[in-house]
Amino acid sequence: MTVRVQQEDFDIGAELSALTDGNTGIGGLCSFTGLVRDMNDGSGVGAMTLEHYPGMTERMLEEIEEEAHRRWPLDATLIIHRYGRMEPGDRIVMVAAASAHRQAAFDACNFLMDWLKTKAPFWKAEELPGGETRWVEARDSDEHAADRWREENEV
């Protein structure tokens, strides 16, 4: 289990190798990378800045990772999330899950992203072509995606 919150870019291949090297019980490794898109809600976006809540961010990401390990038989997981200024095409976040079983790796990776989207304290401000910035609004679709993983006994 690894959580990193950093300004610097990351190397997906090196991260995934580090996650699985030496563990020959792993049969499947699923990863997801989120990238800055040049379009959001129809208006061109030049760049964006990600603000976060140092301390709470790491705590929440660790909790999400622990929850994934509680739900699926996982050998390894990784969450890296960047903050600061990023341009279109830049990597923002990567999550990965490794398991003996293919579907556990897929589901856990999907879960990590969905919960991170609604529970990790990050906020995006987009730079518009005119020079103004605009805070990105939360999406109902992200709430619904996260709700898929809510367990029956949860509130």
Binding site: Y53, G55, K124
Partner: protein
């Protein structure tokens, strides 16, 4: 009590962090919001739409009913948009 503001709450209030000493009777996060709103138009603007503001007490999500005490860290921010 340490209070933190993020994203547009930080911008409206004009700072990211402050130490406050709320009066007796302010015992929940919701009561803290109500008291902060009396401190100026920036606070009033930031907390105008209470449903749009998320609360964390000691770096864990809370609600308006979450109890708060002198040494707590209380944070206010919009719904998160990372990832």
């Amino acid at each position: 009590m340490k209070v933190l503001y993020f994203a547009w709450l930080r911008q409206k209030i004009g700072m990211g962090e402050e130490t406050v000493d709320p009066p007796t009777g302010v015992e929940t996060a919701g009561q803290l919001v109500d008291w902060l709103k009396t401190r100026g138009p920036g606070y009033e603007a930031a907390f105008k739409d209470a449903r749009a503001v998320k609360i964390a007490v000691n770096q864990a999500f809370g609600t308006r009913d979450t109890p708060i005490a002198a040494n707590d860290e209380v944070a206010f921010f919009p719904p998160v948009t990372g990832g």
